[in-house]
């Protein structure tokens, strides 16, 4: 008893072939979209790799690029098969390749599912990498003369301006590091000496933030220095002042940016899985409808199409039996005709 049989006459077959051809080309476009999203994601990760200690994992974008290319190839082949399906001579060429092709599509769907899962799960890894990377970035902000870290200041300033954030968790992270290089500190000045000696590690700490933390939307010119000292500025209360500098931390800002990107890519991949399944079902119907034609010379005859030749349970039983026999080929069969290998 075939699984989900449908009767086909010539018109239905032609319509199915045409509709399937269009869906295959739509899938090719989706494959191109996945490929370009993979490249875009890779570029974004590279752009911000300094914030993540150059430690970020490129597994997801690489997988996306691979999946995109595979999708293009597989769906283009499927489209070609559909295009040739109504011409019996051309279709005979493709007939032997169809079963392996459908198995390949199944495998490809499994790969897509794995990629979607990774998109959702790797967000945790991105979060942890960001936390570690930003802490180090803030520490190395002042080292504009150290090779390899010359541009850390510029990158961090650009990130804070672009993502409207300040510090790792919030602006107080800047109070815990020395972000002014010793090259620009007048060590003969008493104030400077006092400040440097006032903490165990000899760091010049102050309650100030860099200019990139400033909020341009503030009605008042930016207050960067002596942030926690209310009396240092006229009409200023640091506990209620919210518009002066950005209050959000950069880890949260960057994470929400990457997380939304990865979530939307994951949703797109799930839609691709559904589209691919529809493609596979359509192709199975088309090929079975063409194969079961009683009179191949007469295109007008009716035929049956189905998804599975036997029912679901029987198909699985057959598959399991096949797998078992694959395992048994090297064993000696008692009383059989096969030659035993000693």
């Amino acid at each position: 008893m075939p699984f989900m049989p449908v009767k086909f006459n010539l018109q239905k077959r032609v319509k199915l072939a045409q509709g399937l051809w269009m869906i295959y080309w739509l899938s090719v476009i989706v494959g191109i979209l996945l490929f370009s999203l993979g490249i875009f994601f890779k570029i974004e990760l590279r752009k911000r790799s300094e914030m993540m200690d150059n430690n970020e994992s490129h597994l997801v974008p690489n997988l996306l690029i691979l999946v995109g290319l595979l999708a293009c190839g597989v769906n283009a082949f499927g489209g070609k098969v559909c295009h040739d399906s109504l011409d019996p001579i051309k279709f005979a060429k493709w007939k032997p390749m169809l079963k392996p092709f459908l198995l390949l599509c199944c495998g490809f769907n499994a790969l897509l599912l794995l990629t979607a899962l990774l998109c959702f799960l790797m967000q945790f890894a991105v979060y942890l990498t960001l936390a570690e990377g930003l802490k180090n970035s803030i520490k190395f902000y002042k080292d504009t003369d150290t090779p390899g870290r010359c541009f850390m200041k510029r990158t961090l300033d650009l990130t804070q301006i672009e993502f409207r954030c300040c510090g790792n968790n919030n602006f107080r992270d800047w109070f815990e590091v020395q972000w002014i290089s010793n090259r620009y500190l007048d060590m003969s000045n008493d104030l400077v000496k006092d400040r440097v000696l006032s903490n165990v590690e000899g760091k010049y700490l102050m309650d100030s933030v860099p200019f990139s933390c400033c909020n341009p939307g503030s009605p008042r010119p930016c207050i960067q220095h002596h942030l926690t000292n209310n009396s240092a500025h006229y009409d200023y209360d640091h506990r209620i002042e919210e518009l002066n500098i950005w209050t959000r931390g950069c880890r949260e800002a960057l994470f929400s940016y990457f997380s939304s990107m990865m979530t939307s890519i994951g949703v797109l991949i799930i839609a691709t899985i559904i589209l691919e399944s529809v493609d596979m079902a359509g192709l199975k119907y088309l090929t079975t409808a063409l194969e079961t034609m009683e009179d191949p010379e007469n295109p007008e005859c009716e035929s049956d199409g189905w998804l599975l030749e036997k029912g679901v349970k029987e198909t699985f039983g057959d598959l399991l039996a096949k797998l078992k026999t694959l395992g048994k080929t090297n064993q000696v069969v008692e009383g059989g005709d096969s030659v035993s290998i000693l």
Partner: protein, 371 residues
């Protein structure tokens, strides 16, 4: 003797009509391109509208938008005409509009050229507008509590950060105005009062700049206050320090940006104009004229599927000019009584279309032409 006479079978007529149809649709696409370029320029100008005074520059994007829309309409009509030309019944509908359409296309390509040239002429007015606008914007930077100017501070800060510029001509523009509002100045302090009294207009002036002037590429944390005082900072000399603040003025930066956009748009419009001229002159006019004459001849012969002749002009240039002059003379004579033909002005008018008398397959008699 007709000018450039060609024979057309029905298939060739159909193909000619189809090729013209495709060309017209490509022209519609270029019209849409012109329209979107005009829209883009309008949006860019309006985005920084707060920083520009005297909006006389709006005529350029408006012209581009209008020209783009007209291009779409004209070419769409042309496409429809060509599409209908394949069917002789529908062709009759369009017969009268063909010539005015061709004239309109010529006039319209001239408009496109004017649009392209205007793009290049906008620069002078734009510079003047930016100069005035930026001076005002810097002056009103501190007025974040005045309705209508609340967001000027934010706009100027974002501008300086995005375009990497400071002030109108340079950062010293900020030294000449008060950019900190009196709301945030402690009037009870002696220093503040002294500074206010130190100049005629009672402005709080200082050698400091807003944070948005800070240069990202500087290896040292930004020095915003006491910019010209070397002793206020360690290891600092403001005459040689080039990386601390943005050195370029915002007027220059914005002008360069807009000039770049306008040059690209101007170039694209010129290329579109060249394409339109080629399209209009060579293909549409010639093709449409051939189609028109060949279909007219088909109608004269009465057999839709036959071959027919198509030409640019029915008689040679000289004869056509002579007959047209005569038509104009006769128009002038309309009110006079012409006694030569018993007062009937129609007898002397040469007809260019031959009337169809009697049954088919009868060869037509030549009507003697009076000249």
């Amino acid at each position: 003797m007709a000018v450039l006479r060609l024979k057309f079978t029905k298939n060739e007529r159909d193909k000619l009509a189809q090729v013209l149809w495709i060309l017209n649709w490509i022209s519609v696409l270029t019209g849409i391109l012109l329209f979107s370029l005009g829209l883009f320029l309008k949006v860019e100008i309006n985005k920084r509208g707060e920083l520009m005074a005297e909006r006389d520059i709006q005529y350029v994007p408006n012209m581009l938008i209008a020209v783009g829309l007209i291009a779409c309409a004209i070419n769409f009509l042309g496409g429809k005409i060509c599409y209908d030309c394949v069917d002789t019944n529908k062709f009759l509908r369009w017969k009268l509009i063909m010539l005015p359409y061709i004239i309109c296309t010529f006039f319209f390509t001239f408009c496109v050229l004017v649009g392209a040239l205007m793009c290049y002429s906008m620069r002078g007015e734009l510079e003047e507008s930016l100069n005035l606008g930026l001076t005002e914007a810097i002056r009103f930077y501190k007025d974040t509590d005045t309705p209508g100017r609340c967001f000027l501070k934010r706009t100027v800060d974002m501008l300086q950060m995005e375009f990497h510029c400071c002030g109108n001509n340079g950062y010293k523009d900020w030294f000449q105005i008060q950019w900190i509002s009196n709301r945030y100045l402690d009037m009870s302090q002696k220093e503040v009062v002294d500074r206010l009294r130190s100049n005629v207009e009672g402005k709080y002036l200082m050698s400091g700049v807003p944070f948005s002037c800070c240069n990202l590429n500087s290896p040292r944390p930004c020095i915003q206050q006491h910019v010209t005082n070397n002793s206020a900072h360690f290891n600092y000399e403001h005459q040689t320090e080039a990386l601390n603040l943005w050195m370029r003025g915002c007027r220059e930066a914005l002008l360069e940006y807009y000039t770049h956009i306008m040059q690209s748009i101007g170039l694209t419009v010129l290329l579109t104009w060249l394409f339109e001229v080629m399209d209009a002159c060579l293909s549409v006019l010639t093709g449409v004229r051939y189609l028109q004459t060949s279909l007219e001849n088909v109608l004269r012969q009465g057999d839709l599927n036959s071959e027919s002749d198509g030409w640019l002009l029915e008689n040679s240039f000289m004869e056509t000019a002579r007959t047209n002059l005569n038509i104009i003379k006769c128009l002038g004579k309309g009110n006079q009584i012409d006694t030569a033909n018993n007062g009937d002005p129609n007898i002397n008018v040469p007809s260019t279309s031959k009337a169809h008398y009697g049954p088919d397959n009868v060869p037509l008699k030549e009507i003697p032409e009076a000249s």
